[in-house]
Amino acid sequence: MTDPLKHIYNSCDPYMPATAEYYYDCVEARGGSALAHEFQRHLTLAKDHLYFLFSGHIGCGKSSELEELKRSLQSATPPRSCYFPILLNASEYLDDYDTTPTDILLAIVTELADTLRREAGIELRDSYLTKRLNEVKEYFLSDVEIEEGELSLGFAKAKIKRLKKDPTARHKVRSVLEPKMSTLLDEINLTFDEARVALKQNKIGAEQRPCADIVIIVDNLEKIRRIANMEEGLVSQRELFLERHIQLAGMNAHFIYTVPLRLVRSADGPQLHQRYGPSLVLPMIKTIERGTRNPCQAGLSSLRELLRKRLGDLTLTDAFDTKALDFLLTYSGGHVRNLMTFVQNACTYADEIPIPLAAAQKAIQQTVRNYSTAIPEHHWRKLAELDRSLDQKILNGDNDYLVMLENLSVLEYINGGDDDPFAEAEPWYAVNPIVRELQKFKAAAKELQIEEQKKKSQAAASDEAAL
């Protein structure tokens, strides 16, 4: 029999998105809707194609949610319609540091043709796109492959992916395709029309129902750091999602794009909503309540359930000492990938199951050490300010806070609007519970408190003087 600790270690891999077996819907605990539910709700309401933006912290469960969406679109039961989802991992095609919208269009059409062929046995006809593809193929095919004759779109994926690692070929392909951008977009739309017809004839799912439409899910698009010839970071992300939205929102199918949380929370956030349509930020699973900081039971129990699914035959009490589990859950801040890493670490410090509190504490020490040394000095005060603020909001567009969202020293949560309908989907922010316990943070918080008291007493004094 394998060592149970080894089993836990490998089933809590922070690298892999949750499979159907491991997926657990944390709707209530996240405070917002699960992606699948929210997207499908919009689908039924939508008169036209949706361009849906999806965002969230690194490692908060976005890819797992997208996988789940794909499964639920395929297997929707009446009255819901079935859809044909295409899940495109942008990282397979695109160089994070050198991408253009043309590259993205090419990736989308390639993935479309590939998925249609593999999953529905549909081969797209020769079209304008095939011709264009064959015009540029010499740049990324070997001589032998060129000899093999025409490259068909449905079999091009492995070859197009080479462009990611070949900047020279990539630039040549762009120089041919870019001048034809508007035609290209038009042709892609024709291809979607062709695919839709073929899919409607093609019944899928257990109940053999026809597909209503195509949904293209573009994951990891938020990872793009630089658009060719632009400055890295927010500037490039703005260029891609805002300035070039005509391309991203110009294709005739339902789309979901992952966007960087930094951009959504920047001063440009509202514009994104105007140009695309509905959006969803996947919040952390709440481990504390806003304001009171009381433990959030719904969130903690979701995290428990999420872990239990990964344990196989073991129960949670088999695997963890109660105190150890509470400790790990509380200090994960509801960040799923962090929780996975913590559990793995705890396994390596434990001699046997149940994993004791001491091992859980040692596991957290690793992160304590990382944050103590890596958080820039000028962040501590701002972290303290956020922590002491009553509304727990961050300043839109303050670059320091955007960096903190990225390095997870600040986490974003959403409250369900049970009592107050207007509070729904309103994000709030909390300092990462581990960061909150660090000495540097405590020192900054104390200093701030003293200043506030001083100001108060000064204000009181000047009031007296005024009297």
Partner: protein
């Protein structure tokens, strides 16, 4: 595992026992099926080497390939693809990444780090655990600059330098003089800060009985002075205050006084005169209590400088004269020279030009005697400009030219430029436009 192992405060930087970390890392490798990303943080190359050997010795059944990079790489993934053996080893250790990130200050913006983040999904292909053996600044750079890559880690194990090795380095680092700090380049100061910071972190993580508060205090003081030299005053104060706290804890009055003096200097640099005076006065009290005459006189000079900067010339004169008296009593002629130069500035400001001249000349004689070229060059410049004001242009020219030569040799760009400007002014006054042109160029 028994309850007594539970940590009092799991969020303090608790001591790291090498054996615990080593054992946990070995278990992580034993558990790992397929790709896993692990970090082993260790600042000292020799210790890293020893630990890698120990891990391998404890895993005799596993084939480990150690990849020691000895030159910079920009695409780690490509490099690994070339060197990872076939058939695959059971685990891959990577070391030598510091060659790819030679400068700590902006390490997180290096192309190497950007590429690491961009290729995060491709390391999966090795299908084996990868252990990055790296110093702390590389780990921080990865955390900040490659957040996606860092987020898929399965663990970060930390190893602290053995106490013996640490104290050697610490003495070397704290023994330096302030002028050494002044002469370091910006990058060197940054390097030094990174080095001291990680050394300090190592100390703070040692088990309580092995910690050396005295060294920690000196490291904080050193960091404070480095940050001061980099004009990062808030950080400077932060470290000096930590040093101060430790000195009080250790009841080391001597250090307490010195640190207070340094704190005063940081406030003075920010023109926060009130706080500066308060720190200097506390320092002065301590040096008098300990009968530390030299520190007493230094504090007096520092107080004089504050008064001078606030245009309280009479008070400044008083402090400088007091300091001069002490320097004479203890026979510290070289410091006397510095005090005289400051006193001369006061006289000059009061319009007492002949007193100023005398003080400058006395000061100059002393610094020449001691070969203190820095003070000498300053004094010559000051006396030169004084002569310039008095219209004694030939005397001025000789001094300014000498000061120019010395400041050039010392690499003191500021003073060199000031001399050039003064000389240009002198030529202009003479109507010697061609010479002036040459100098301004």
């Amino acid at each position: 595992m028994s309850d007594q192992l539970i940590i009092d405060d799991p969020f303090a930087l608790n001591p790291i026992e090498e054996e615990t970390e080593l054992r946990a890392l070995v278990r992580a490798l034993e558990f790992s099926e397929g790709f896993k990303l692990l970090f082993a943080r260790c600042n000292q190359p020799q210790q890293r080497q020893r630990l890698m050997e120990q891990v391998q010795a404890r895993l005799p059944q596993e084939k480990v390939q150690v990849i020691s990079l000895s030159e910079p790489v920009t695409h780690l993934l490509d490099t690994l693809q070339e060197v990872v053996r076939q058939p695959s080893p059971d685990a891959i250790f990577i070391t030598g990444l510091e060659y790819s990130l030679p400068i700590a200050a902006e390490a997180h913006n290096a192309p190497f780090i950007a590429n690491l983040n961009a290729s995060r999904n491709s390391f999966f292909q090795f299908d084996r655990p990868l252990v990055f053996w790296i110093p702390e600044y590389v780990l921080s750079a990865i955390m900040l600059g490659a957040p996606d890559f860092f987020s898929i880690r399965s663990g970060t194990y930390s190893f602290v330098s053995a106490p013996d090795a640490t104290s050697d380095v610490a003495t070397a680092l704290t023994a330096g003089l302030e002028s050494i700090v002044d002469n370091m380049t910006w990058a060197e100061k940054q390097e030094r800060i990174t080095a001291i910071n990680s050394l300090l972190a190592d100390y703070e993580m040692l088990p309580a009985e092995q910690r050396d508060k005295r060294i920690e205090m000196r490291l904080h003081m050193r960091l404070g002075n480095l940050f001061h030299a980099l004009e990062q005053y808030e950080q400077a104060l932060n470290h000096l205050n930590q040093a101060l706290t430790i000195s009080i804890e250790l009841q080391d009055r001597e250090y307490e006084g010195w640190i207070l003096g340094n704190i005063g200097i940081v406030y003075a640099s920010q023109s926060q005169f009130h706080q500066a005076v308060s720190a200097y006065e506390k320092s002065l009290d301590i040096s008098r209590e300990l009968n530390d005459r030299l520190s007493e006189a230094h504090s007096l000079v520092n107080l004089g400088i504050i008064h001078f900067r606030q245009a309280n010339y009479k008070k400044a004169e008083e402090k400088y004269l007091q300091a001069l008296q002490v320097y004479k009593e203890i026979g510290d002629e070289s410091s006397e020279g510095t005090a005289l130069a400051n006193l001369a500035l006061v006289y000059e400001s009061l319009g007492l030009l002949s007193e100023a001249e005398t003080s400058y000349q006395e000061g100059l004689a002393i610094s020449r005697k001691f070969g203190d070229h820095r003070t000498e060059a300053n004094a010559m410049f000051n006396l030169g400009t004084l002569y310039l004001e008095q219209g004694k242009s030939s005397e001025a020219e000789v001094l300014l030219n000498q000061s120019l030569q010395i400041s050039h040799r010392l690499g003191n760009n500021k003073l060199e430029k000031k001399n050039l400007q003064a000389l240009a002014q002198l030529r202009r006054a003479r109507g010697d436009s061609e010479e002036e042109l040459k100098l301004t160029q």
